[in-house]
Symmetry: C2
Subunit: 197 residues, 2 copies
């Protein structure tokens, strides 16, 4: 006889699929669901189904949207495009409420080791946007790792000839941190990218 009766075991198993959730945490979550009212549990289940049913990708930028074209694409300055790897990067940047331009979600980065080439991510769509629109600058905001850097270099080579400025987010010492504790690679980049005062 299993310790957990089947419906509880099933729910624990589902919660275990969430990132960073082990058996113990999944149990705590399952208990919480059991303690919820029927209506609360229904709202939870509906929220999960709703996200799958209503959310899809914007046909322009590739970010999540409920419509055909997302609110950002419809309303903001199209002359600056910020290129990111995934939709969650859009949320991270939007949170700042600083960037006034639009986005382009690549849905991946060039990563030959994983067999992901330029044609596997949304680079063609980006070029089409640049060729059809009045784009002045493309800010490449891929992650500062090997594949993110490679993707940025690749994009720069493609886009610069189209007479569009290509920039990349600055690397350097995180604000508020200490030089002593900054890792070597970051510190070296901070030297290379130093600014005139």
């Amino acid at each position: 006889m299993d310790i957990f009766i089947e419906p509880i075991g099933k729910l624990i198993n589902e919660f275990s699929k969430l990132p960073g959730v082990g058996k113990k945490t999944a149990q705590r979550y399952a208990y919480k669901i059991i303690d919820m009212s029927e209506a609360e549990a229904k709202a939870f289940a509906d929220a999960i189904l709703g996200v799958k049913r209503k959310v899809h990708y914007c046909k322009v930028c590739g970010n999540f949207t409920e419509e055909e074209e997302c609110a950002i694409c419809r309303t903001r300055d199209k002359s600056v495009i910020c290129v990111v790897k995934e939709p969650k990067d859009v949320f991270a940047i939007e949170k700042l409420r600083e960037f006034k331009g639009v986005y382009h979600v690549l849905h991946g980065v060039i990563d030959p080791l994983s067999g992901i080439g330029p044609n596997d991510i949304r680079i063609r769509e980006l070029l089409a946007r640049i060729q059809n629109g009045d784009v002045k600058e493309v800010i490449v905001a891929t992650n500062p790792d090997v594949s993110g850097d490679a993707t940025a270099m690749y994009l720069a080579k493609l886009i610069k000839p189209l007479d569009v400025a290509v920039t990349r987010l600055a690397h350097g010492i995180p604000v508020g941190s200490e030089i002593e504790y900054t890792d070597d690679v970051t510190l070296a980049r901070a030297f290379v990218e130093r600014n005139r005062l």
Copy 2:
């Protein structure tokens, strides 16, 4: 304009209701759901609904079950009853696969400060079980805190006159830990409850 479109914001909000889950973790969980296939998300939602629909309390012991009477009550030695505060305590003990008796879930402990008296928890049901059955021992496994201890004392006073042994889980130094790092209260209890070798 909100950063998150409504279905995603809603799902993040639902995940935030889980114990120990903040905004950031809830976001990660929501992304995971978005990345799931339709079928996977449906299975997740169904598991949540299933737990609410199928799981209720055993009419005898008060633990979770899908049937009227749980599998433990139906199949195990009824002469020893282990009394616990919540169903999750049953799982913790069942995991050991040591205890062969049955359980009684109080669904709470006596806690006058929170206005919870003996009649608010399943003490009456426990007494009925003892009076109607052939019970030899009641092991009180409430938590070793003020209200858990008070409940244990209260139960002992009620049950002892019925000619049933009442025991309480031992307190002491956790196995594998060091005396040096054991907290004062636990160490003192370990002295009081010391055993003859």
